[in-house]
Symmetry: C2
Subunit: 415 residues, 2 copies
């Protein structure tokens, strides 16, 4: 890996912010909410805008068969490319920074190198991956997953959306079913700048996160069955209360992650009681468990601890317990050298920096399957994301883009 080039350059922050706002204006509904779901008319408009900016920067546009867009500078150089990217699709009622920051910062990096008259020793590619959010088609991170060989193209194209549409049909309809084979280019490195979407950097007053790994994710749905009985006439000792048993799982999980296992996080985000009547003991509780840990062994240990607790609960509370796996991703280790380069850039720019773990999924985790990859995080105000209130201070965004610039410059030996 290359040494870091001194930070003599700076990206054009005003243009970056202007483009973030311009792209963020595409897909506004009547109430002002932003929804640019994958492969909708709104997504097409966003893609067209991005491609126009890429062309203005003199990039060669390629689109692969899953709709990932690549803008390449210096395609004629015969060397493995540096790829910088993220996604531009959004969830419903989204913010303007998630994903777009990574794509537009990449563009800014390249324009900065161009404006400085520097030439890289390898191509630099800006990538915008299809359907990262998964809000219309499951799974999320689909474009990068297909690109990295983790999901067959045909399977992805035949995915049915929440609206009944077929992904491949929509891709053709909006004109982004490209001819390039997904995975055709193996980059020398992949870099993704992203808003943290969590509270850590802001809470600690740190400007730059050098993301060294990404949590493994385990999603389960648990169903507990007891007996619906009258809340007044059923003595405590004769109850089989599914709601109580569910509550015991919630408090168990918190106790578990508060113990020495501090790296695991556990969330019970959904909960339904049946029959859900004030004076009837719940006969059924249905809830989800979201477990995450950057270490696969610890994640498995947490899953086993939950399984054991559910087994004991069946005995102690005389309830029936079943669980179903909804999703499972192993943790991802990012490239150590890239993380070190990010830290070095931050140090040279007098930016506070810490190593950190990504709690959310990102395209970089898929690209890590095929090339050295890393992420740069910048602070999210109040940790809010997937929400119109998603915000990152302009200075933080620009600082992150400058670190991205340094690392890309070093990797491409742009002189």
């Amino acid at each position: 890996m290359s040494r870091l080039t001194p930070p003599a350059l700076a990206i054009d922050g005003a243009t970056l912010m202007q483009r973030l706002r311009e792209l963020g204006a595409i897909g506004r509904d009547e109430a002002g909410g932003l929804s640019r779901l994958a492969l909708t008319e709104q997504d097409k408009a966003g893609r067209d805008c991005l491609v126009r900016w890429m062309k203005d920067a003199g990039l060669k546009i390629s689109v692969d068969a899953i709709g990932n867009i690549f803008g390449t500078w210096m395609p004629e150089i015969d060397a493995a490319a540096v790829m910088i990217g993220s996604h531009i699709d959004t969830v419903v009622n989204a913010g303007i920074y998630d994903g777009c920051t990574g794509v537009l910062s990449g563009l800014a990096v390249m324009e900065t190198l161009q404006a400085a008259g520097l030439e890289p020793h390898c191509p630099i590619i800006i990538a915008a991956f299809t359907n990262e959010e998964g809000a219309r088609y499951a799974p999320d991170m689909m474009g990068s997953l297909v690109y990295a060989g983790g999901l067959a193209l045909e399977e992805a194209l035949s995915t049915e959306g929440t609206d009944g549409s077929i992904l491949g049909d929509e891709l053709r309809r909006i004109g982004y079913a490209g001819s390039m084979q997904p995975g055709a280019i193996t980059p020398r490195a992949f870099l993704e700048l992203h808003v943290e979407q969590g509270p850590v950097l802001e809470a600690e007053g740190i400007a730059i996160g050098a993301v060294e790994n990404l949590q493994g994710i385990s999603w389960q749905r648990v169903v507990i069955d007891g007996d619906a009985n009258h809340a007044g006439t059923t003595p405590t000792g004769m109850r089989r209360d599914a709601g109580l048993a569910a509550a015991r799982v919630v408090t168990f999980l918190r106790d578990y992650v508060t113990a020495p296992n501090a790296a695991t996080v556990a969330t019970v985000g959904t909960m339904q009681f049946e029959p859900d009547v004030i004076n009837v003991i719940p006969s059924r509780a249905i809830f989800t468990v979201d477990l995450r840990d950057p270490d696969e062994d610890r994640l498995r240990t947490a899953e086993a601890a939950l399984r054991d607790f559910l087994d004991e609960l069946g005995e102690s509370d005389r309830v029936s317990v079943s669980s179903e796996r909804l999703a499972r991703f192993e943790p991802v280790e990012f490239d150590e050298n890239l993380a070190t380069l990010i830290e070095a850039s931050a140090t040279e720019r007098n930016l506070t920096c810490r190593r950190m773990t990504s709690g959310a999924g990102h395209d970089a985790q898929m690209m890590a399957r095929i090339c050295p990859s890393a992420m740069i995080f910048v602070p999210s105000t109040d940790g809010i994301s997937h929400n119109p209130r998603e915000h990152t201070h302009e200075a933080d965004l620009i600082a992150g883009a400058n670190v991205l610039l340094d690392v890309a410059r070093a990797l491409s030996d742009a002189e």
Copy 2:
């Protein structure tokens, strides 16, 4: 109070069962479910059927201004009456025993005394109270509450139903807005035979419950507010998890009632999380708490313990907690002499019997405000009620009606 008359008589069990089935056939929907909600066409048909049977037994029919139906035997005797009753309205998708057992057993008792050629020394009145279930109009036990002076007639008549109807309009429409003043007759005693609607008698293998008191009821809705944040990116220590806080309340309540305070029962029957998404920490949890205890002081202590716990939770979990009272009834003590008479009858008939507390509300609790009152419970199979599977064995029903017969005979000095 009179001494108990030897149990030389027995009610006509076959007729009682036949009438329970016949009344239980009125209000069946296409799927076979029974719903005879107060003051509907179905309720009118049930009332008409009951009045016909009462008239066949030679009773004088009176209807009061809230629609309570009274059938009086020997109205000409100038002495305070013995009143026997319950209700014939049902919940949605009900069983056939709840309420109807008490009314039709009363009729059977009177017919048995008539058939034996006995004459009481006071009138005997069979009462069917309006809207005991409260499934269409709140509050429940409305007819007996108005009768006992606990709710103004005008207020009751202006009650708006879940279907938007006005109670007084519906009462007139079905022809049961009577001219009698509610409360006009103060009985010497009120007796109500009812299915237990709980599992205690069956579990203990006991035939007769001599109900000595009725639990006080405290209903609250609790709202806990935290922060919706990303399940992956928010460290455990930075979470304000409303769902977790709600779970702590559920387990606290069970711990509380499992401790020395065994007479209190606590139920969290309803629970909603917001936004109720698998990978978002709940920002809000809304749930209900149903607390019951036959002792007012203990019930207040339980309410205070919950209040203290909610206060502590606001601190410990950094959440906002608010609670709202939905309903509150003080415990009711039934008449000791009547309970003793019930026990004596059971003993003479070689029926197992225990003193017990009613966990549910009943018309007898309202009548207890104006005259000595008591209830007789018979076992509910599997403790099930408010359900098509509600069931009491025929032998248990008849045994209960015979105890009712003995007590009514003793109270009216029927010789």
